[in-house]
Assembly symmetry: C2
Homo-oligomer: 335 residues x 2
Amino acid sequence: MPTLQDVAEKAGVSTATVSKVLSNTPYFTEKTRRKVMHAVEELGYAPNLPARALSGGKTHIIAVTFPYVYEAIFTDPLVLRILEGIETECTQRGYNILLSTPLLSADGPDEHYLNLIRSGYVEGVIAIDNVPLASAFEPVKKRGIPGVVLGYHTGDYFVRSDDVSGGLQMMNHILGLGHRKIGIISVPEVLHFSIYHRLEGMRRAAERAGLNFDDLPKANGDFSVNSGEKCAAQLLSEYRDITALICLNDRMAMGAIRHAHEKGRHVPDNLTIVGYDDIPMAGSFEPPLTTIDQQAPEMGRASARMLFEVLDNKKPAPIHVPTHLVIRQSAAPPV
Amino acid sequence: MPTLQDVAEKAGVSTATVSKVLSNTPYFTEKTRRKVMHAVEELGYAPNLPARALSGGKTHIIAVTFPYVYEAIFTDPLVLRILEGIETECTQRGYNILLSTPLLSADGPDEHYLNLIRSGYVEGVIAIDNVPLASAFEPVKKRGIPGVVLGYHTGDYFVRSDDVSGGLQMMNHILGLGHRKIGIISVPEVLHFSIYHRLEGMRRAAERAGLNFDDLPKANGDFSVNSGEKCAAQLLSEYRDITALICLNDRMAMGAIRHAHEKGRHVPDNLTIVGYDDIPMAGSFEPPLTTIDQQAPEMGRASARMLFEVLDNKKPAPIHVPTHLVIRQSAAPPV
DNA sequence: CTGAAAGCGCTTACAG
DNA sequence: CTGAAAGCGCTTACAG
């Protein structure tokens, strides 16, 4: 592989000059620039990034952390959509994405992750940080690496989905349809910060409509399809007058719908069931799911853009990515 | 951040000694080892990986490439499952994963990707390489970087799903149920090498049963749910006697089922529709999909293990990951 | 505008 | 078993 040295020799200039031309420093003649670029072309030179990192500090690597806890993140469709948004921005800037899956426990993230953070590879990090148990961003902050939090853990810079509004929109929609006997399929709040805020939004909508939110029947699943099925079974057998089920993610909604169908209840004619997330499959489910679109790719893009601003020594303001109610066919007025 | 230098001073030895102790070279006294490790602990030292990469050549970074073409890879659930398998192995070995999404065109991969390959960051690569249009592995090979191909493009080391067997199993199952009027929803073969082999497997099964495979009605979609819906519409209106539809991925099968339901046909009582891939949602769809499990996580794991063998200067044999027929409820005997 | 030289933090023969 | 020294390929003040 050709080195900067080789380029310098071929162009008949010093390595310092080549380095400056390549990094777009001003102050060199057009002629020099051309000589250098010509040599670069001829040799097919590409900079050695570890060397550049060692001397200059810029690694051109962004670490993106997905917490490894509570459920297989590798089956969560949102993960990929967020990554999509981040990738778009990073590629545009010539940055590379290092995928990191810190194993979170009460003691904090695992050793392998900590070593990565201290490795000198990471110029910036985007931390999906929504697990109350522990923060993946904490060690990043301590180490002084620029970063943005995608979620609710504390960071100077963050992007959040507008979960309160999402919960509120959904509850309003269900109330607007005329439902009053509403069951909620959630997950334990300790699993995910967003849950608390979505419930809070629902509470506001409910109380505005004169409903006591705390009295509404609730069951906790674990985000999985199966758990949605079980929770629906429990709720529907215990509270026979329920006309609508609000699920805190799409997969549990799908499980709930399956249960309803098994019991011979038609969704939405005979029972309303809605989800949250708008995963890729939501629109082709039967019935197509009424749900909340979190705009995952936009969250990814926004967090990457924010990180690049931080790397440029700016102080970007927090961003709340709006949620959208997606009305499909799993909700209807009660019979 | 403490450096190896700091550790050496604190331990009262040379940097060479520290380096050797840390890399587990034999030949040093237990006492020295303890002194060094003690200093490491005290200082919270972690090696600077760019420096290590520059001097030693080992970067501890594996690039994983997902081709960016034909459809949004970021909506393909298999991508994440493969990544899961790779992650497991890499973390175990203390390696990091650099996510790479080469943009493939007839001229080959894009410049950003090429620069990554020449960057000195990449110690090894796992290339998901199934797009006939161009190979992402080609530049890796040329550059002399160790790598394994997950797919059908040429590489010295490779892992493949047993697509022929997958197609064969599925066709056999459908034939075994008694179907003879079978429609096939595929995608153009130029999109994905696997398609060719799955069809080949189906052909063998069909001909073994005395059916002329070429005479079977076929339509091409593009992997998406919507395209499955359209293809089903076309096939079913053109060939009224079709009793079973074999789709080359689950999402198209879901689209096909949607179309069938809209037309008032019950699946599977009135029409059999099967998929391929066994994506996470397949089991909770209505009806639960009969499909082929490719064992995506195992493919990821196998390719990572193979790569580490190559990095250890071994010559691993190719691996064909077996496929499994997953019988659920979308297929039944014809009426 | 250009270059000589030091330095980034490691590893690796080579001596001892 | 341990250490001095060179070198990996860059960037960055500092001179000129």
